[in-house]
Amino acid sequence: MKEVFAGAVLAIAMTVAAAAPIAAHHSFAAEFDITRPVTLVGSVTKIEWTNPHAYLFIDVKDPQTGAVTNWEIEMGSPNGLTRLGWTRTMLKPGDGVTVEGSMGRNKPNLANARSVVMTATGKKLGAASSEGAQ
């Protein structure tokens, strides 16, 4: 699979010693590859606020060719996102975002999100768990 995508600004290899990565709903490792992290900079085209996972769709433009690719970003459930302070209207089509996550294994232009930052405000949506615990 082509690993240099439009807007991919960073891909750091991570050392992972896991054999049994487990998520609440499904096995992470069956769907995503932690050894292929990706950062995507683009604009929101659609949000699916659904169970068992919400999905964020973003258009990412290749800075060299100008070609635009629509990426599908898996997130947690609306329940988990709501508990982090998200709402289904927090992101709207056209909003600029930077998404960090891992590449999907079986489908091009699929990734998960570990973090989403809004371009306009620099606000990190769904900050790390201990943030705000002070």
Binding site: A29, A30, N51, P52, S102
Partner: protein, 335 residues
């Protein structure tokens, strides 16, 4: 195979004299994988005899275990929810009169799809100081009703499986546990030990668990009835309960062999599965649950888990209709 946490560990000793001869200390700071203070996590020092000494990290993630007899310890940070991986650093030598510094960076357990469980520590810290007496029902029994944030056993002992079960477990592992029933929108683990929210509704005759995975409820009959004969095996089985003083003992049989047991382990089992849960509420904030999982056709000895749930009265369950938009099968690398 266990998930071995990748951690940044800095070990050095400082010449801090301690008051008590023959004793030393360990101190440091715990951060998340993102570098934030991991407030509220428990740090355990396990000595050579298996005895634990523990302390909870402060708001800035700092911890100190003082007055430890000189010796060799394993330092453990148990898994918190689905968010963090269990951390274990063996062979930490505590010398008399010295403080060992151990800075720990936790790693995500599930590689962290945003929203999956990122809020666990945040919610845990919101309620961890909740205090009060055990609430009781009008008939004098402890009242377990309310919203609970479950957690995993901080020190789980590995299951000893019979050969067929071991082979099946290895097959699951080699397929990255892609076959988890919940990934197909099937039922959750019947041991009800996932580190998620459970809501308990208690009446004189029923103890009902509500949760955000299929089948969304389990009812335990605490009206004195027995298990029916010739039960058709089901995902969560048939549960009855009886009071032993302030402990409610729940007994579940009639289980099918399709469920996977225990988060991060996912054990196979047969229809001989028998689950006994002992519920105690020692105070307002905590629910202590001892789970014994018996299946002589799968395990050499019963598997035990000891968990503590935290009362979270300001939280609520959400509707969760899994088949609404489940893309796992089309996105999975395994076909």
């Amino acid at each position: 195979m266990k998930w071995a946490a990748t951690a940044l560990v800095v070990l050095f000793s400082s010449a801090l004299l301690l008051a008590q001869a023959g004793r030393g200390a360990i101190a440091g700071r715990i951060t998340t994988d993102q570098g934030d203070p991991a407030a509220g996590v428990t740090v355990q020092a396990k000595d050579a005899a298996g005895k634990f000494t523990s302390v909870v990290a402060s708001g800035n993630g700092e911890f100190r275990l003082a007055n430890l007899p000189a010796g060799t310890y394993e330092i453990v940070v148990p898994q918190m929810g689905l968010r963090t991986a269990r951390y274990a650093q063996p062979n930490v030598v505590i010398e008399a009169g010295r403080t060992v510094t151990l800075n720990i960076r936790l790693m995500p357990n599930n590689f962290g799809i945003l929203g999956d469980d990122e809020a666990f520590l945040q919610i845990y810290n919101k309620y961890k100081d909740l205090k009060g007496a055990t609430p009781r029902t009008s008939d004098g029994h402890p009242d377990f009703s309310g919203m609970w944030l479950a957690n995993v056993d901080p020190n789980p002992t590995p299951a000893q499986m019979l050969p067929w079960a071991q082979q099946e477990w290895e097959r699951r592992r080699d397929r990255a546990f892609e076959g988890m029933p919940t990934s197909r929108c099937l039922a959750t683990d019947p041991t009800l030990t996932l580190p998620v929210f459970y809501k308990i509704v208690q009446t004189r005759t029923l103890l009902i668990h509500l949760f955000e995975q299929d089948p969304h409820y389990r009812q335990a009959f605490i009206d004195g009835r027995e298990h029916p004969k010739d039960l058709d095996p089901t995902w969560l089985g048939h549960t009855i309960g009886r009071w032993e003083k302030d402990t409610l003992v729940l007994d579940t049989v009639g289980l099918n062999d399709k469920s996977w047991l225990l988060q991060a382990t996912w054990l196979p089992h047969t229809e001989m599965l028998h689950i006994v849960e002992r519920y105690r509420r020692p105070d307002l904030a905590h629910l202590n649950i001892d789970v014994t999982i018996e299946d002589p056709a799968s395990f050499v000895t019963p598997v035990e888990r000891h968990v503590t749930w935290l009362s979270t009265p300001g939280e609520e369950l959400f509707e969760t209709i899994c088949p609404e938009n489940n893309k796992f099968l089309q996105n999975s690398a395994f076909k």
